[in-house]
Subunit: 227 residues, 4 copies
């Protein structure tokens, strides 16, 4: 039977020093182990999915003792966090087609590629299906803001080209592109087609042009019609 393990709060160890390895033992072993374990984590995610991810399996695949993982990461969640963050760092593509709509569309398609990719899809599910620890939530916010930072120039170019209202809330536009795609993936459990990506981009563009995301609170257009 499937997943009967749950995300347990965390461990009793001191919080999260997996990052700075400098002042303890600068030897290359530390780094080598880190790489091996993170790679093993990703591989295991692909093979077994999030629900089937076992610390023991990661340890075995990484040629590492189980205790080492608990010593360095402190638990399954923190390991996942680190693996995903590590993975996501280099997998973002920011388009620049010259037009707002074109950029949004390409960006939406790149999100779609991430969700449908075998590796990254599992990773996404891992991160966003992992319950709601404060720690995990923090990771989620960090994950999003690091990606938002990448795309923001895309919207800012449109602003400077006067394609969209001057006081558009940049982040809100970005959110609007990803939302329907993640929604399809996580909530609807429907395949995320390229049409869906294009639609998401088009809807975001239309709403932006309509001024829905203007940050000045005065006269939000949608309010005209509301109660």
């Amino acid at each position: 039977m499937s997943e009967h393990r749950l995300v347990t709060g965390g461990s009793k160890r001191s919080p999260a020093q997996p990052i700075d390895t400098a002042h303890i033992r600068p030897g290359g072993r530390t780094a080598r182990i880190r790489r091996a374990v993170l790679q093993a984590t990703v591989d295991e995610l692909i093979d077994s999915g999030y629900a089937g991810l076992r610390v023991e399996a990661v340890a075995a695949r990484g040629g590492v003792g189980k205790a080492t993982i608990y010593r360095r990461w402190g638990g399954r969640d923190r390991l996942l966090v680190d693996a995903v963050e590590d993975f996501a760092i280099e997998h973002a593509e920011v388009p620049d087609t010259g037009s707002f709509d074109g950029d949004l569309q390409l960006w939406a398609r790149s999100i779609r590629r991430m969700l449908t990719g075998p590796v990254s899809g599992q990773l996404v599910r891992a991160v966003f299906g992992a319950g709601s620890t404060p720690e995990i939530d923090e990771l989620r916010r960090r994950f999003w803001s690091s990606r938002a930072r990448l795309v923001r120039p895309l919207v800012e170019r449109a602003l400077s080209r006067r394609e969209i209202p001057t006081d558009t809330d940049v982040d809100e536009v970005i959110r609007q592109v990803g939302a329907p795609l993640y929604y399809r993936f996580l909530v609807l459990a429907e395949p995320v087609s390229e049409q869906a990506a294009d639609l998401a981009a088009a809807a975001a563009a239309a709403a932006t042009r309509a001024g829905v995301f203007r940050s000045t609170p005065t006269a939000a257009p949608s309010s005209r019609h509301s109660l």
Copy 2:
């Protein structure tokens, strides 16, 4: 929220008995146990959260044998989904304000209430954080389509009032309203404010009016600008 009717889902429990409903004992016991267990599930979720939900605890709280739960639901995931489906059906409110924008806005706010409610928030997280079994995915789709069925009239009224393009894809509009809210809740791990709900409604309305969700494939307006 001045004057408008709210259609509540009610407890007409017809969809989706988890087991073959044909040759089941018509006696009240079946139904009584079902109610007790689903209620116990919800109560346990509130007390212990998703990660702390134990089948045995649900059984005890429901005054039911553990085996009964496994016999009727087949596992934790299916139980959760059923509990949530049951819960959501009774808590769905479909607005009817007379205007498309107003209806969308109220609908968005009702979604927001569900996500931020202490009970229903846990429930939602439970369902959409439960991994990706084909079976669970099927239940997610059912969950969504049962809710979509409730809201569809809302969009159809707008169609008949000629507020939106005739060939608008109704389901796509519905999706567009929920997407940013679930996205905020599950992916961004940010609070889902009322402004966010209003924004989601406004964006969906704007995109709909712009014809983004017209089902006829000819000349999707957003494509004019794309690559």
Copy 3:
């Protein structure tokens, strides 16, 4: 995995009226059900062994509701008791060769046949491996004394033929024949060969002739040598 069920004390029903079926319901159904269930019990014992005997399987095999068995026998142990007693009634053969040694030998061989027979072996194991309820112990005594009653004439003939000491304790001789065979079967878990049977008979005969089983307490021959 083997037998994780244990002999539980019994049930809360009134004690053991499975035997006399006369004054309750003389109708043929009662008797027919009794036969069917007892036969099913024996058959199940053969197929599944004592440890694998399930009331449910007996009920199914006997074409009877599980509740019927609990109503009439009150539990697994009492059912077994009844089945074995029923079975053992006709399966005893008392030899008469004319000589004490020959009679003992044949009797020992008949015991051996019972222990090695597929049906009766399982039954024996069922009865003597069933723990130590007062009820079961009572059955054991009854089982033994009913068989002892059958063989006693054998020894008495030897007495009247003056083959063995006049004051020989008849039951003790009988015990002495069966003991090594049951011992081999239950305790040593070794095959009970025909030689073993002959040996048991010979040893009992020798000890009897030596006067070991004389009931007069004076001058037990073996005590001459003891401390």
Copy 4:
């Protein structure tokens, strides 16, 4: 019981570790856990009897995880057998009175003490009522042969003293002493009195002297009379 030496088995635990003893941690933990669990098993047997013995209770009483018991013993039956073997070895007393009859009598009485003791009686019932797995049967044989090894010198001394026929089958004599006592205990469910023990010893001695257990097949005395 005037003057004679008793050789007690001691706790030299060498025979029959349930798992491969070669590459085991030499640290005291293994042994400590083994002791704790076996002791807990015995204690639980005394408190709850064989039928009430729960693996979980043993684990709790031994301060040990349930899984540890399953890992090391593989199940309740094997645990029981090991506990009994362990117990019996330390409680075996091999007499040496100088005479064959006296030795047999003391040995029989020591068996009787084991069967009637509150602890050991439960243990014996546990082992010989545990069904008939090949594995359990193997352990029964081992149990017997380890005890037989202890007593064999007793018979051999009688041989060297020319008290009994030269070609006597030593093991058969040993069997003959225990058989009536176990028989009374397990099969007849009658109290095992001291007289019964003396009788068993006397019968075995008489049969041995009569040459019944001579291993040379020629002219077994009992066969003179047989068919």
